[in-house]
Subunit: 353 residues, 2 copies
């Protein structure tokens, strides 16, 4: 019925690769039958796993490569060693070559970002790539970016993140006009960094071009789901994400010890176990696994390095949905509609920023 | 037996002032009998409240002032209007004059910081004040600073925060040698901002001088309680704090809806209600109310503006403990022991940084 979606997979990336990767692909295929996989990695390790999952085999192609990037390798070192030969690079190369719609890796984030940027190159008009997270909130899932692709961002880069994030929101969520907020330390116009204030002015003027600019938001607005897209600089985004993860684990741990405190509370917990399990599923970080590298000429998804098969299934599902909803076209469309990008494109060739 | 501790209180600061302030003082006095209060504010509003709490009256003195700083006033405006006449200023002035050991206000943070800095002045050797939060973690309470007193911090300012934070940890917690971590986006030495790397070098060399330097920590280390003191720049600290608050509320809300899902889970929740109430108390933000302004010649505590009497009771208890444990002496002592502050004190007069 529909065309198939091809996902290019670094089968060797992550702590539990390649088993968790292949097992995750098996689970992802069950949910989305028209997925095709290109697995890049050590064939002698991948083939036996495909025998274990016979349904997956006809939907898969294996491309052998010997070189595997270690989780602790420095980006520059990984790039020198892995360019053109590693499973990570080859997974990205398949997107560049048009064989795959999207690439995914659970490997080392810095190395993946370096390779993706080097291989795919930033989109014309976008100065630097960003990593977007899908963040569950009280209202619905939202997009938060940048999660640490780069440290520091000027006004123009924050505006780029707003363009990329709103295209992702239009792609994944049921909205044509997502709301965008700039993360700041106060909602009054006067507060915050110069770069954020300047970005606020630009976004105010452009509001309506594929998104609605909401204004400044604060840290607690993320969990509330005040806006569809929260834009921030990478250092702050990374700290916010990890602080939230830490807090969620902390509260879950408090809850466990509270419920185990005495036999009456244990009995209560037993009776409420289906509700508590639903809560556990809702808070399971594996269900929202995957950082999306945006702003490059192609989509690359970073799965969490410690993911098991459930984590990979989620990340592969996310990859599928982004390809299916034509994310790249949506980004191009938002950029076309965004006034700032017209004067900036005076030079027809891509400029280095 | 012990000397009394005198707290100077801006009775008019905060949304529920003066009632919540006076009621909170009444509750705080019950827990710490040798507390004395100087209430600054509109006498005709404070006196009737003291009649309601007859135990509080003999421990209190009321100083009338007409001028009240509004919650939305800009710091510069508040300073012009309120210097020398407002309840906020006079509460701080009592510390400067040596009448009170510590000052507290639930008023507008920016105005309070401006007045505190103007009235008390930064300590010699400390370039800028910071706001410290007491943060509950899986291990125990820890100190996180700066929570947004200023935006941006160079290496030296981060080092100052480490000195101030470790003095506060020695003052409030049962430790002579608190561990200090620098908040960063990765634990590898190579990552992060220059200012953080540079501060890391200075702290490594000084480790042992009243604290132990742990190294870089990430956002999720806050909730784990990896170190006693987490040092960060104010913008990031503020976003981290509010993101954590938002996440805690989000999880609590998920839990409520999960437990209300069906009658079996409701029955379970009823049986486990004492455990769930204990959890609620543990997560109650009112029990850790109070940002501590540090680095000035005197201690000022900011209570949350929306606090009720329970919030004020906690903040007043915190104020008491800091005065009792001689926080100011502990800061002076850490500075004496810290090598960087010796060469920096070539000029005997306080330099502007």
């Amino acid at each position: 019925m529909t065309d198939s979606i091809t996902i290019s997979v670094d089968a060797m990336g992550g702590d539990n690769a390649p088993r968790a990767v292949i097992h995750g692909a098996h689970l992802a295929l069950k949910e989305r039958k028209n997925t095709r996989f290109i697995f890049h990695g050590i064939k002698s390790q991948i083939d036996p796993l495909l025998e274990e999952f016979p349904d997956l085999k006809p939907a898969s192609e294996v491309r052998h490569c010997e070189t595997v990037i270690a989780m602790d390798e420095k980006p520059s070192q990984a790039l020198r060693k892995g360019k053109g030969v590693s499973s990570m690079w080859m997974a990205i190369q398949s997107v560049k070559d048009g064989e795959a719609d999207v690439a995914i890796s659970g490997g080392n984030t810095g190395a993946l970002m370096a390779m993706a940027t080097f291989c795919l190159r930033p989109m014309e008009g976008i100065s630097r790539p960003g990593i977007a997270a899908i963040w569950p909130t009280l209202r619905s899932d939202i997009i938060v970016l940048d999660m640490g692709a780069t440290i520091g961002a000027d006004a123009r880069q924050l505006v780029d993140y707003a363009i990329l994030g709103s295209a992702l929101a239009r792609s994944l969520f049921d909205t044509d006009n997502p709301t965008v907020g700039l993360l700041n330390v106060g909602t009054e116009e006067v507060k915050g960094l110069e770069s954020i204030k300047e970005a606020g002015k630009i976004l105010s003027e452009a509001s309506g071009a594929g998104f609605t600019y909401h204004g400044f938001v604060e840290g607690d607005d993320i969990g509330k789901g005040t806006v569809d897209v929260v834009v921030t600089e990478g250092f702050v985004g990374n700290i916010a994400l990890k602080t939230a993860e830490g807090t969620a684990r902390q509260v879950a741990s408090y809850l466990r010890s509270a419920l185990m405190a005495n036999w009456v509370s244990r009995l209560g917990a037993l009776l409420a176990s289906s509700a508590l399990n639903a809560l556990r599923r809702k808070m399971d970080p594996r269900t929202v696994n995957g950082g999306v590298f945006m702003g490059l000429n192609g989509i690359v998804i970073k799965s969490h390095g410690g993911s098991d098969e459930i984590g990979y299934k989620s990340a592969l599902g996310l990859a599928y949905e982004m390809a299916r909803s034509r994310l790249m076209d949506k980004i191009g469309d938002t950029m076309q509609r965004f006034p700032i990008h017209k004067p900036a494109q005076e030079q027809p060739t891509q400029s280095e920023v």
